[in-house]
Symmetry: C5
Subunit: 82 residues, 5 copies
Amino acid sequence: MKICQVEKTLVSTNRIKEMGHRPLLVVKEKGGSRSIAVDAVGCVTGDWVICVGSSAAREAAGSKDFPSDLTIVGIIDHWSED
Amino acid sequence: MKICQVEKTLVSTNRIKEMGHRPLLVVKEKGGSRSIAVDAVGCVTGDWVICVGSSAAREAAGSKDFPSDLTIVGIIDHWSED
Amino acid sequence: MKICQVEKTLVSTNRIKEMGHRPLLVVKEKGGSRSIAVDAVGCVTGDWVICVGSSAAREAAGSKDFPSDLTIVGIIDHWSED
Amino acid sequence: MKICQVEKTLVSTNRIKEMGHRPLLVVKEKGGSRSIAVDAVGCVTGDWVICVGSSAAREAAGSKDFPSDLTIVGIIDHWSED
Amino acid sequence: MKICQVEKTLVSTNRIKEMGHRPLLVVKEKGGSRSIAVDAVGCVTGDWVICVGSSAAREAAGSKDFPSDLTIVGIIDHWSED
């Protein structure tokens, strides 16, 4: 799983119906590029989170049919970037 | 999911029949290389879009058997590249 | 999907039986390293092609059990590298 | 599979229930960034381990429904970094 | 599929039982980092091989439940690094 920090929420009015209303967040891996993750735990900006990818991201987002390849599955209690 | 910008449509006359007639678009992640994505929402050139990869890209493209590893699942309302 | 150019065919006499006799091609993404792809459309050296990866590569190669993680699913009509 | 070294355990109190209580470890590939892996073998800090990704990480973590994309499946007996 | 060269065998006494006794090899992609692959063809050090990743690696290693994300599925007859 990737270690990412939450930057902000993302608004996408025009999206496929399978995405429903799950919140989408912009996250950033240290030294990496920005990605979009489905929030399954309830994060706020600045949180360091655990992002699961691959096929595991679908079920973690709520169901096997959910179109996600990156889902936030946990908030890290303490993280010091170094 | 990746944050990409739509560059143009792609024409591929000779393709496997499983791809059907779904539109194919050239997209570019900031600072990354160009990729080809299946358009499931109806984008135009210049749009910033949400691209889902991995196994989720198949069903998002219309069916579990669709041969896609990158599918556009939403248009981002506002995106400022920085 | 990746945009790759076909470089040459690859000969592998000693391979697992599940690969059968599907042609294997060496392809190269612009600025990337060489990969091997299963040819599902019939390409020749120099063609710019659409390569699908992830789990979609298996079925695109002919069956869900085919051991491919990169399959050529289309030839691009016109491509100008820039 | 990736060759990683275990750095430390990770505490995440707020996580989705599907993760249960499997231990999470921070691991680092040589020259790569830090990742989080589910420990399926019982490692300690400093161990060099085999990390499996992709869809294989789920079942290796205990069940097909486990939300993992990186699972430690073995400890390397001897590894000299070079 | 990746083009890799076999470097050596890997010993991991403490591994999950699902890995059984399939041989594990350290392989290296040109200019890339070392990875561990399950050997399904019978290679020796120095061989240039075809490594399949993603979900296809599992079945190529012998069964759908095998925890592999990289499996050697063929030996390349002739390969000149350039």
